[in-house]
Amino acid sequence: MSRIAKYYGSIIGKKAVVAVTGLMLLGFLILHSIGNLKGFLPPNSAGEPDIDVYAHFLTVMGEPLLPDMVALWAIRIILIIALILHVVTVSKLAAHNRRARPVAYRNHKHVAATLPARWMFVTGGIILTFLVIHLLQFTTGTLDPTPIVYGCVYSNLYYAFQQWWILLFYVGALSMVGLHVFHGAWSAFQTLGVDNPDRNRKLRGFALGTAAFLVLGFLSLPTLMYLDVMKHPNAYGESCVLSDGRSE
């Protein structure tokens, strides 16, 4: 452990921690977006939307070995730790970097740094704010401008994304994720010393591809719901329909 602490003590070690935690969070995002794409799959024999079935699976994941919610919370805790490490370490590095140049240039050109690379701190900050709002909306249900019912993922999404401003908010947030991943998913490999001239094109392609996949994957279902291309939740079985004809 003392070696890890020593490594974390150096600025290169800190960057490596940012890279590893970033890749963990990226892995989560990829799985999350694949999960969301289940909204496009046909319902099961009981008529429940596939995405609701998948959401239920997440709560009982690991059974019969593990009790309900244990595997889910284990993953959540790992992700929360990764997120905290990612944010705290980046903030420490930013403070260190500010001290490295006490007198600023009057004129400092960027000749190689891309805009996403330079805006990582801004896009990251926006993503963090978005994350809080997103969890309050769809995980805890605290923020509910549209009806949110536990377990009724499809109808929760459907009613939320009938609102143009909610859709717009998600489009904005997901663009930030795209920009962040475009630089981050390559930068992580460079930081870990995995990148080299042989792999550079492929790793940058991976970062671009992942960023595009996340933006399109996450936004496709909400956009098509807004455009009324997706089925109304009442078209699926009775479980998420209330007496007034809408879900509550």
């Binding site: 020593k6 150096s10 600025i11 970097n97 007198v103 600023a104 930081t191 995995v194 001239p197």
Partner: protein, 258 residues
């Protein structure tokens, strides 16, 4: 050619410093940037003013002594070129040119455009050496080296230690310099005995000097007069990970079965 120069003037390290405007006239396009400053200094001296202090030595692009951030770019707008190899023909006639020193907490300004780069010397002293035996001279090519690796090490060794990477980096990091030195020695067989401790010591010294951290912008590589690749930064990161986390610290300890 005619130029308006906005030049950073600073009496010494304690002085706050400010920009002052100077006009130069009748400059031949074949004048180098530093010669143009020499001409300006002559004029300043003749009129009883203080000449502008700046560093230079070989003026052939190989010593690493010249510096200057010109119009926001280390060593000026021409890629893979030191300031001394920059000519006035690279600027449009009548241009306004801003000249600043390397800006880094680890490179304190000595006077005007000259900065103290001894932080680099201290990084070198921390681990930039190899042990050699003091016996008879070995035969040439005595130690076999893969020619590709030897070329790569030579690429790293083209670093002239000018500090442009630090000046160019938005974070004021010295990663490219340190990485070039670490890689140059660690790639070759002669550098193996100190391989582990070299990267640890040089990185520790780099941090102690107060240089920033790497955010993979690539500005250092783009503004390096020797175009040293950021591949070496990845190499150094890998070396540090290996030395600090993977390799055992106790090489001769006792082991038991159970």
């Amino acid at each position: 050619m005619k130029f308006t120069l906005e030049i950073w003037r600073q009496e010494n390290g304690e002085d706050a410093g400010s920009f002052s405007s100077h006009e130069v006239d009748d400059v031949s396009p074949d004048t180098s940037f530093l010669e143009m400053l020499d001409i300006l200094n002559e004029k300043l001296t003749e009129s009883g003013g203080e000449p502008i202090a700046f560093d230079s030595d070989c003026r052939e692009g190989i010593c690493g002594m010249c510096s200057l951030v010109i119009n926001g770019e280390a060593h000026g707008p021409k890629r893979a070129t030191t300031t001394c190899q920059l000519y006035m023909r690279h600027f449009p006639d009548g241009a306004s040119i801003t000249v600043e020193p390397w800006r880094s907490g680890a490179f304190p300004v000595v006077r005007d455009l000259a900065v103290d780069r001894s932080a680099f010397d201290r990084i070198m002293r921390a681990g930039g050496y190899v042990t050699v035996h003091s016996g008879p001279k070995p035969d040439p090519n005595d130690v076999p080296v893969n020619p590709e690796i030897s070329e790569k090490a030579l690429d790293a060794s083209t670093c002239i230690g000018c500090g442009a990477c630090v000046a160019a980096c938005p974070n004021g990091a010295a990663m490219l310099y340190t990485a070039a030195k670490v890689s140059h020695l660690s790639l070759l067989p002669q550098g193996q005995p100190e391989r582990q401790e070299r990267v640890q010591k040089m990185v520790a010294q780099m941090e102690e000097e107060g240089f920033g951290s790497c955010r993979n912008y690539g500005e250092c590589e783009a503004q390096c007069p020797k175009s040293i690749s950021i591949d070496f930064i990845g190499h150094m990161n890998r070396e540090l990970l290996r030395a600090t986390v993977i390799e055992p610290t106790d090489l001769r300890g006792e082991m038991k079965t159970q």
